[in-house]
Symmetry: C2
Subunit: 562 residues, 2 copies
């Protein structure tokens, strides 16, 4: 752990605490910074002081340098930095940043460290930026930690009048995340997203130190995932031949993510949300596009796996195996949400099998779950499920199964009571798609169950430990914001996701308190979130403005009580 | 009027009513269409059978041809048109569309017709597309009518397998708008929009036959409009030197709009919403960026014109004159919303003038309004005001003043009772920005006054004649949807506006009933709105998806009661 192996560099200049640092998101857990201007030297260089550095670390350094030189972000004050000019004329120039590791060998790549077990994954780093013109240093136990430190370093710099500079030198942080799991979920089944949109999203995620891409890749509406063992699934279940993720696409996405410190948690949602399997395997699906759909599913089209059928169990196990064995992640999500038992009441095959085996539907579900999870565990994967598998069904799950709490934040306590590890994904705080009204047509109300819009302010108040006992705290792995894409596609993915999805990134990186020990709060967070948003726009992500530009340049002047 | 001067061409093939036409938005008021496939001939040509056609008509024809050849829109059915191939093999080919005018001379340009007085503006047209391979015809009384007809014609065509085709031939419509004013308002003061974003928005507006761009160009946060007589206003009040609309920019926008059948209604909001004038003329502004802002304004920053001061009245009249004389529109909006009288209570200068002149604040406002409106009327302009000028203040207004009802749709009746003409702009139906939560920071509720999101479905139910007596119906000029841009800028303008802003375009073009006489309803509208949305995306506008693609390809299968 970094706290043991790194030496705390005592900065000799006068330091103030983090309130003056307006540029960092998520804000580091420990931070000391000054108010001295410091320019980036025209000859600024990153020095990787590591024998045989991994290729992805060198690529990350090249990317970091590109951001430094091209962000061209003016400071968010009136004049966008013109008032900084006087202090810049006498400022020292930073000649470089030296990257070192605390351990000699073996040096693993960022990509390898990004998929390490959550209990040992090490994202910590120490960054020291002197104000006097001596080189900055970045030290970590892992290349992944160095990557996080590069991200922090890249957020310090503004441009004005040809200078690239910070006004917060000297700066020192010894930083590491409060929670190991900080995710973002994208649904690519309701509407399809080309690989390029996913890669851009991964870039944006990395800027907020999000470390898990939960890829809800298939669902009832479409099956865009090309599976080697079952190519017919996407051939017949994808929206179009051009709207398929080939094995190469998947590996490209995984590699791109891993090089940015992001693990890809793939989900194949079962046994509900599987209508699209019926295009190639109608024999596996009960109530297949049955009408009225609302009797059999929470949204159209209806159709669920006949999980009581051994053939379906075998198919699902093979499907999981075929996909999961190509993935480096330790996790794999089998879904398990919104199973509609009405679907099976009149399903002749299911009822025949239940009668023949003497099992109840729940017993059949238990067998299905144990078998399909067993296939994953044989590959060394840890299953991830939605909360219903724990709270609504009596299925046997390994103790290390990770449970995503989505229906309500209040359900975390019930999951913890069953001693499962938790990822917070509560619809009442973290669903990015809510608030656009009902997309089900011919609905006289026009309202959606997940209205209203989850504002960044409300999201920011989420407490990961609410209603848990202290002994249950270690069960909380972290959380993720989610985009279900019934009303989103490449046209609006950036604007619906950013910068809001960065909010949970800070909740789970920084934890409950700011570096000075005061509680996190939206009022002091806003200028930093503006900063991240404007930097995202400079980097080509269409993040939305949170306020009139007038307010963005004048912190607190648009506060309600200003 | 077209209904008199055009001969109804009786189509001899079997025709069905409009329910089968899924491609037109707004749907024409009269429409007959068949179910025969018709291909666009590879040699398809527009023929403009008009002596000395105006340049903008020829440009519109070139644009129409470009859309035909580049839209490349697959029909929104499973297979995106593959099922149309059999009927295409035997289909006739349309060799061309001939454009004619009913009147010989003088032929005015689209741009001239687009700014004609609303009472005489003529957008009607007759379009006839035979199924047998004989040329289509488009006839109108004006070039503006021809432009509307070209827009309708352009919505008929899909692409599949190298063919451009419709399956709704023969088609005949004699069409004209139910209401003369169909607008969209953009606020370019809370956040700035480059000219290119405005031009793209004008294109999208034209595709839905929206005929008024209400340009809320300045406000308290910024003054991006460069005014010839007062260049200091934008020099000091714009967000940045690069965020200014020069006189050339304004004329470019007006010309681009006019060539697309769109009148530009410019608004300089007074006497409230004027803080940004204070950057160059602090002497004209009361409670200038006063604190707490909430005492003096509905949003930060506070600051309003000292309208009791004759110098301010003179300045405002000259400001209006300098701007309005450069605009071809018959309308000019002087604003008049959200005047906060608290601002003047402690304003020494205002109180001195009121005492010296013996006027009340309301009497001073009346004088200010009469004088500044008089300056506009001297230029032949008709003032447009927000509803407060009629409902909350006792100011003298010309009878022909147009009043925009925004606070609540219920207020239309009170405005009509005062016998003013109405443009519906109700926040409860037409505000596109609502539903994103509060942008005022440090607000513990996080809720905004205009929550929730106005869904397209709810907007579509708006009744322009609700609560009015039949004798008041002629007062309703039409309506507009509006984007206030506290939380919008170029990053999300497309996705927050489209396709929702097309909803009022149909309400006010088509009126209450479909061509078959049945009431407009959201369920049958949705497939057509999908069609417009997908065509917008093909043309480069980032309109959002309204449903999963699965639903968009399967009309009514995602209805609540399907």
């Amino acid at each position: 752990m970094l706290s043991r192996s790194l030496t705390l560099n005592l900065v000799t200049t006068i330091l103030v605490f983090a309130q003056s640092v307006s540029s960092l998101w998520p804000i580091p857990r420990t931070l000391q910074s000054g108010t001295t201007a410091l320019k980036l030297s025209p000859g600024f260089e990153f020095k990787v002081d590591i024998p045989e550095p991994p290729a992805d670390l060198l690529e990350a350094v090249v990317q970091a340098k590109t951001y430094l030189l091209t962000d061209n972000l003016g400071r968010l004050v009136v004049g966008r930095g013109s008032s900084d000019l006087p202090s810049l004329s006498n400022a020292s120039s930073l000649p470089g940043l030296t990257l070192t590791l605390t351990t000699a060998s073996p040096v693993l790549s960022i990509s390898e460290e990004s998929v390490a077990d959550l209990t040992t994954r090490d994202e910590s780093y120490e960054l020291n930026v002197p104000a006097d013109g001596s080189p900055a240093t970045l030290t970590a136990n892992t290349t992944l930690g160095l990557y996080r430190g590069l991200t922090t370093f890249g957020q310090l710099w503004y441009s004005y009048g040809g200078e690239i500079y910070t006004i917060e030198a000297p700066l020192w942080t010894l930083d590491s995340p409060a929670y190991p799991f900080r995710g973002f979920m994208l649904d690519t089944a309701r509407n399809y997203f080309p690989v390029s949109d996913i890669l851009r999203t991964l870039d944006a995620m990395s800027w907020a130190k999000i470390n898990t891409f939960h890829w809800h890749v298939v669902d009832s509406q479409s099956f865009p995932l090309q599976v080697t063992a079952f190519p017919e699934l996407s051939a017949m279940g994808a929206y179009a031949p051009t709207e398929i993720y080939s094995p190469t696409d998947v590996q490209d996405i995984i590699a791109y993510a891993a090089a940015r410190g992001i693990d890809v948690l793939l989900e194949i949602d079962t046994p509900g949300h599987t209508t699209s399997i019926g295009y190639s395997h109608p024999e596996y699906i009960a109530c297949n596009i049955a009408s009225p759909w609302a009797t059999f599913a929470n949204e159209p089209p209806a159709g669920q796996l006949r999980f009581a059928d051994p053939a379906v169990t075998n198919f699902t196990s093979e499907l999981f195996t075929s996909v999961a064995q190509t993935l480096p992640s330790k996790f794999f999500s089998t879904g398990g949400d919104e199973l509609n038992v009405e679907c099976y009441v009149d399903d002749v095959l299911t009822q025949q099998i239940l009668n023949a085996t003497g099992r109840t539907l729940e017993e059949a579900l238990d067998l299905f779950t144990r078998t399909t999870h067993g296939a994953l565990e044989a590959l060394g994967k840890t299953p991830v499920v939605w909360e219903e598998m724990v709270l609504d069904h009596n299925v046997t799950l390994s103790n290390n199964t990770v449970v995503m709490v989505w229906i309500s934040s209040a359900d975390a306590a019930a999951v913890a009571a069953k001693n499962f590890r938790i990822v917070h994904a509560p619809s009442d705080y973290f669903y990015l798609d809510c608030g656009a009204g009902e997309w089900i047509s011919d609905d006289p109300t026009g309202n959606s169950w997940c209205d209203p819009f989850k504002t960044w302010q409300e999201t920011y108040t989420f407490d990961p430990l609410a209603n848990l006992t202290e002994s249950q705290y270690p069960l909380v792995l972290g959380g993720e914001q989610l985009l279900w894409t019934e009303q989103s596609d490449p046209q609006n993915v950036d604007s619906i996701v950013w910068p809001r999805a960065a909010v949970s990134a800070e909740i789970f990186w920084t934890g409950a308190t700011l570096p000075d020990g005061s509680p996190r709060n939206g009022t002091t967070a806003l200028p930093r979130l503006h900063d991240l948003r404007f930097r995202m726009v400079q980097r080509g992500v269409r993040a939305i403005p949170l306020q009139p530009y007038w307010c963005a340049l004048r912190p607190n002047e648009c506060d309600l009580y200003a």
